[in-house]
């Protein structure tokens, strides 16, 4: 098991460097940060000097080499836009994004899985049909539209929930802020987390439903019923557990993309997280922030995939025994 983890972590380093290279190369196509960094009075010479001193005139491979060396020394550089160390900005923004993403993931799983099970077990029930219809909207409506729709209804018309920001946050120490401990913080979480969760929720629901539908037709489920087990036990313990491997795969990938692509939701709700920081960096051509963000996201993806691989072992005894067999052979 340990060998497996180490091997994966080694791959992770390669992935991160590769993503860094791609990000760094791409970021030179988003424009020239210099004109955003100075006002309209700055002379052409001043601009040229700034560009030269920031090393933006060097060939991309040299710039990247310099950058990656700094990264391995723990230096993520300084934001062109805010004039602050990138690592400090990330530390400030990460709690907001993680809180939103995790809440959305919990919402997506907590609602999506039961909905999927019900839709599979009782396909003819009116509730199931409603779930299926609603899920079509969830899967086809773009998140920015859902976000704005929720704002119009719950912020502008009903005035129940805030349309932007995180509300009042509490510092848990070490700069880790949370909105979970205040009323306004909780209220501020509702709309963004629904917006972010909706797509994943419907995806998970449809996936669970189709997987369950297959499993429910198998013989061992029929035997379980025949043994007189309670339907709830059969459905949730015997059937659901056997659909979990593909669900874990998809959920893990989706969790990665929830974190990475909270960008749109964060933009709509002015949520002060990593996604908003990234969008602003793209608009500004703030190369250090862009490159570091993409590399960090790739780290997340690698880690989440690693965890999901480990979870396979936990839920599927066949994989465990196979791994042991290969080891001993």
């Amino acid at each position: 098991m340990l060998a497996f983890v180490i091997q994966r972590l080694f791959q992770a380093v390669i992935v991160v460097v590769a993503v860094g290279l791609i990000a760094f190369t791409l970021s030179h196509y988003v424009g020239d940060p210099i004109n955003n960094m100075v006002g309209q009075d700055a002379t052409i010479e001043d601009r040229a000097a700034l560009r030269e001193e920031l090393g933006l005139n060097d060939p991309v491979p040299i710039q990247f080499g310099r950058y990656i060396l700094n990264v391995f020394e723990g230096q993520l550089g300084i934001s062109y836009r805010l004039g602050r160390p990138v690592s400090e900005l990330f530390a400030e923004r990460l709690p907001a994004t993680l809180e939103l993403s995790l809440l959305s993931a919990i919402l997506a799983l907590g609602v999506g899985i039961p909905m999927g099970v019900i839709a599979a077990v009782y396909p003819r029930l009116a509730t199931s049909r409603i779930f299926m219809t609603v899920s079509l909207f969830g899967i086809s409506l773009p998140p920015f539209f859902v976000g704005i729709l929720l704002i119009v209804v719950f912020s502008v018309s009903l005035q129940w929930l805030p349309s932007y920001g995180r509300g009042t946050v509490v510092d848990l120490g070490g700069g880790w802020t949370t909105g979970l401990l205040t009323i306004s913080g909780l209220k501020a979480l509702i709309l963004p987390s629904i917006t972010l969760a909706l797509f994943q929720m419907t995806l998970i629901m449809r996936l669970v439903r189709s997987q369950m539908a297959q499993v429910l037709r198998t013989d061992y489920i029929k035997f379980a019923h025949a043994r007189g087990l309670k339907p709830r036990i059969v459905n949730f313990r015997h059937a659901l557990k056997n659909t979990l491997v593909p669900i874990i795969t998809v959920t893990a990938l989706q969790l990665g993309s929830i974190i990475a692509f909270a960008i749109i939701t964060e933009t709509v709700f002015q949520w002060p997280g990593m996604g908003l920081l990234f969008i602003q960096a793209v608009q500004f051509a703030d190369v250090p922030v862009m490159a570091a963000y993409l590399m960090l996201v790739s780290v997340f993806f690698v880690l989440i995939n690693l965890i999901s691989d480990l979870l396979y072992f936990a839920v599927d005894p066949r994989l465990r025994s196979e791994f042991e067999r290969r080891r001993s052979a």
Binding site: G31, D32, M37, G39, D41, L82, R84, P85, Q283
Partner: protein, 530 residues
């Protein structure tokens, strides 16, 4: 709608019943929340000379000479000034002014700020280029010697904010931040000015909290007790926050949402022409355009072709259809309100498609030609839409325009490299004076910075000559005359094709009164929460 009103009525009834006493308190203790599409990039008053950033800072820091609601100059940290001779000015500083940390304001702070603002990492150094020396005569008197006669010295000083010498030095911020040095500067996120508001807390991109400066030397016209600024990038969310009452004031309001803000009984639109004029510029220096179907020659070198572009554009239609009636057609690239503007210069000739076609035919392009128009899509009000509409209009005259729209970050890099055949620009002179337009946007490019924003390299020695005279003419009448003369040449040359003064588009709750300045700067010192 009805439901929401019912809801509101219900809520206010509950609020009134439950907390009558507190409700009375809320009315007088005026919290004020406002939002802009982005955040000030820095609190350092010498860090970035950009309109929003400077306007934001002017709530905290003050210059020697400030602008009032009509943009006229008035004493601020200087109470009076006199001109000893063409190049010598003596400023009497205000007594008993304190910085927000309690330090007294003296001539040393002015000298220090000048030195700081002139340092290499300062972005306002160009504004102070006419100052040769600054000397302290006594604790509250400063003498400025200019490089030559400088009629715009006071205009330039109005964006030169004074910092506290002791505070800046104690916090290792004797020079503005420099990303090249790879470290943060204390003054980037902390402030200590003499102005009407102090920063209580600031999280860049998230929230800045202001409290009134109780020791401010001036009598406050505002009744704010606490102000919170939040940048909201998404247009729809910003408008929603205003409509729902979460914020009291936003800008800009996208033109397409203005009607909604207007229609809501609790909110109002504030609209006026901004100083900024939007125009098309042309490559007039290359022998062959880079992006055109015409080979071997440059059609834009011919004045008749530029005139043909002008007459083919139905500006009234652009104002009507794209700017929702809120822009002001311009005859010259100088907005009404800029020093030197006259209605005669500002008058715009009528749209005339036949004349346009004839001019094109006379110039040797009876069948028109093809050209690429570079256009930002996130810089000016409806910039891309303007370009697309103009392309449609020019097509009718025979000029096929390919609109190359892009984000401002790409756009400015491209056009400043002169890598363009035709471009859409907007210009506000930071000195509010016509000279800056002639120098920056219309002057023949020179090493001293002249013509750096003249991306088509338009060049007319007569204009440059007049511009140099205007720079040193102190007699106001004579100066105005020279300005009119120079702009008449520009207009006759059709150096650029002016379109319109773009509109200011602010939204506020109905109970807010404020001053909307034509330079698109919002200062909280005029806000009244009623």
């Amino acid at each position: 709608m009805n439901f929401s009103r019912l809801k509101r009525t219900f809520r206010s009834a509950v609020a009134a019943a439950a907390m009558g006493v507190i409700a009375a308190g809320v009315a007088s203790a005026a919290d004020f929340k406002w939002s802009f599409s982005g955040d000030a990039q820095t609190l350092d008053p010498h860090g970035l000379a950009e309109i929003f950033t400077l306007g934001f800072q002017s709530n905290i820091y003050e210059p020697l000479v400030r602008r009032n609601s009509e943009l006229a100059l008035e004493p601020a940290l200087a109470v009076s000034w006199e001109q000893k001779d063409d190049v010598t000015w003596v400023f009497k500083l205000r007594q008993d002014v304190k910085f927000q940390n309690g330090n007294p304001f003296t001539a040393d702070d002015v000298l220090f700020s000048h030195q700081r603002a002139s340092s290499p990492s300062s972005d306002v150094k160009a504004k102070l280029r006419s100052i040769q020396t600054m000397t302290k005569l006594d604790d509250h008197t400063v003498e400025i010697k200019t490089n030559g006669p400088s009629p715009t010295l006071l205009d330039e000083l109005s964006d030169f904010f004074i910092m506290d010498k002791e505070w800046s030095e104690a916090n290792n911020s004797a020079e503005p931040a420099d990303v090249r040095k790879g470290a943060e500067n204390f003054a980037t996120r902390h402030a200590n000015g003499t102005g009407p508001f102090a920063v209580e807390s600031r999280q860049p991109d998230v929230e800045t909290v202001f409290v009134p400066n109780k020791d401010w030397w001036d009598t406050p016209e505002h009744n704010i007790t606490r102000a919170v600024f939040t940048p909201i990038g998404s247009d729809a969310t910003r408008v929603a926050a205003l409509l729902s009452g979460e914020v009291e004031m936003i800008f800009p309001v996208p033109l397409q949402d203005a009607a909604r803000v207007e229609a809501n009984p609790d909110t109002k639109m504030l609209r006026a022409p901004e100083l900024r004029v939007i125009y098309f510029g042309f490559d007039t220096w290359r022998d062959e355009l880079q992006y055109s179907s015409v080979k071997g020659k440059n059609p834009f070198k011919d004045k008749r072709v530029r005139e043909a572009v002008f007459y083919a554009i139905d500006e009234d239609a652009i104002v009507e259809k794209i700017m929702e009636g809120a822009a002001r057609p311009a005859g010259v690239i100088m907005g009404q309100g800029v020093n030197g503007y006259t209605d005669e210069l500002g008058a715009r000739a009528k749209f005339d498609l036949d004349k346009s076609k004839k001019l094109l035919a006379d110039a040797g392009y009876p069948d028109g030609f093809e050209v690429t128009l570079d256009c930002p899509n996130d810089r000016y009000v409806n910039d891309e839409e303007i370009c697309l509409a103009a392309a449609g209009m020019l097509a009718r005259a025979g000029i096929k325009v390919n609109v190359n729209a892009m984000t401002k970050t790409k756009y400015f890099g491209k056009v400043l490299d002169r890598d363009t055949s035709m471009y859409l620009m907007g210009w506000t002179p930071p000195t509010y004076d016509a000279h800056n337009i002639l120098f920056d946007a219309l002057g023949t490019p020179q090493d001293n910075g002249q013509g750096k924003w003249n991306m088509g390299n338009y060049s007319n020695p007569a204009v440059d000559e007049l511009q140099k005279k205007i720079a040193v003419t102190v007699d106001l009448d004579k100066r105005r005359q020279l300005i009119a003369e120079a702009f008449q040449i520009v207009k006759d040359d059709m150096a650029v094709v002016p379109l319109h003064q773009q509109p200011l588009s602010w939204g506020a709750r109905s109970n807010i009164s404020l001053v909307q300045r034509a330079d698109d700067r919002f200062e909280m010192r005029w806000v009244k929460v009623n």
